[in-house]
Amino acid sequence: MAYSELVKNFSRIRDYMREFYVYGFKSRNEFTKKSGRSYDDEKRRLESWLKDYMQFRQTAEGKNVFLSIDTRITKHNPLYKAWKTKSFTEGDITLHFILMDILNSADHPLSFNSIREQIDEYLLDFEEPRFFDESTVRKKLNEYIREGIVVGEMCSKKKVYHAADPAPLLDVDAVHFFSEVAPCGVMGSFLLDKLENHEDHLAFKHHYITDTMDSEILCDIFSAIHGKNEMMLKMMNRHKAQINENTVIPLKVMISVQNGRQYLMAYSFRFRRISAYRIDNIVAVQINEVSDRFDELRAKLEGMLPHIWGVSTQGGSNMRMEHVEFTIRYTEQEQHIPRRLEREKRCGTVEQLDSHSSRFSADVYDASELIPWIRTFLCRITEFSFSNKTLEKQFKEDLEEMYKLYGLEKEENHAFQ
């Protein structure tokens, strides 16, 4: 099939965007899942959509292509462009603009026959006027009713059609803000596309955009949560390169603003417990019947949250709950450090021991989730203790390994120039 800049199926491009944006070190030969031609086509598409962000590097293995985006500088998420590439037929686009013009120009609802007659009139001046049969026009009207841009209603036993209410005036800055920070923000980007040229007044720091590719899956998840429906998730196991199916009751979406990942907290029928599912690993979903257990399980999850540091509901030990505590020291001039404990902790308690030291302690399902945070206090940790002794040993060994990495295994005091 001839190359086209547009695509029919988003899932094809989803994996390539992830590879080019998140990883960006693979050469053409390493994209083994798809054929060489498929790689060339997807690369060409991404170059066309995101030319300003595509970069290349020549290595021994070949040319590497990657997307390099500093989201503090780009005020609009460039990956949203991928969602604006849906292919369509020649008839689709012709019919769309004529149909909407007919409905927007009418001062009263129109019958189907009237719409069809007018379509033919619009096309008369073309050399070989296109013909839209009854079924095509009816399908398009029904599609637009489902999308919400056309209203179909009965009038004297006859169905008539009119355009839905015009879009209200929107605050551009508000739409811009939420297009970058709210779930499914691509909807905001679609709205901004319809507005006249405007200046940007907002920028974003610590801004993750990797979730962009998962927007449609997330929409379906929200729909299932809202309807209290069960869902079948098709999950990609990236380590085993296989797809598993899980039937779950979706309960809540947990979002990280420190790594950009999004998780679905859901009750798994197979494992009979509430677990976290990475949304970027979900390849497809199916919304099933309404569950009568939603309210009970949502309440159960809410009760668990004070003991979940990240998203994990089960630790490596056999204990239901794992205890963790550590003590830090600070000087008179470092009063921002105990404040850091307070503002950054997600659960647990902070106890000020004296004017120069504080202790953090928590009981959580999985203490391993705290390790990266605890390490951010390296240089001032005076004590630590984990009820999961395997984890405690690992923490100590990692620290020794870090000393070794920087040649500090024996020397106590280095002076750096």
């Binding site: 500093d70 292919s87 013009d101 096309l123 691509v186 007044h201 005076t382 500090l408």
Partner: protein, 303 residues
Amino acid sequence: MLFNELYSAYYNTVAALLKQAMDHPLSDSELSEIIHQHAFEESELYIRPALKDQRWQLIQTEGTTCLKKIPSMPLTTLQKQWLKAIGMDVRMRLFTEDTFDFPDVEPLFIPDDILIFDQYSDGDDYQSETYINNFRILLQAIRTHTPLSIVQENKHGQKLTVLIQPDYLEYSQKDDKFRLIGAGSYLGNTINLAGIISCQPIKENPPTDLRKRNPLKLRSVIFELVDQRNALERVLMHFAHFKKRVQKIDVNHYEVTLFYDKEDETEIVIRILSFGPLLKVKAPVHFVNLIKQRLIDQRSCGI
């Protein structure tokens, strides 16, 4: 459905072309310009012939159109659902009193459906009337390029007045805070909104000697990554929002070059430390020394 041609760049481009063609016959150069403005790098290769060959029967040979009204599209149900959802966010009032109450649709999500689990807890108070009022004054001044006089409190509790030419507002979702970025203040280019007591636009006799804003001071750090415990994915996801380069060294070693603003250096140091022995900073020397000093201090704690 989210992936839908109704939202596509091609439909938006054709809408812009039709708008122009309703005003006057569309020239070839206008056609190119509009396509490049609204679509992608290669789009002209597809859109131009489709219109010229009358496969898309919307623009006649002489550049006119049979349409009667400037193309416009009502909001889709999904757009209404999303607007209704964001209308429930407390931050909406910073911008507008509108709550997007479309009675015919349910919100796409409600606040209870979502939890941002690692956001810092001392974020700005978006329900404070003073904060909302200040935010709106700042935003309006940015829109109209009007200098501002801002009264803020320093860390010693003293009131300070600064003059600033506001440029834009920067939001950090991790900190859940807004900062005003501008030029002219002798205290710097950045003002935390939470620290502003009051502000007002300077409409008459605006200051002419405001300092220029310092550009971001970009620095880089190079570290080696060993891909154990899924470190490759965790590290690259964690640092995804920076401009960066990744190079594979051997089967499980990678070299990452990360570009960051100088003012964020301490933050980068602790973020690298959070990965433990799976990352080793290679360069520059001063950054290696920052890591080493932290480890030496840690060792002095007896652990």
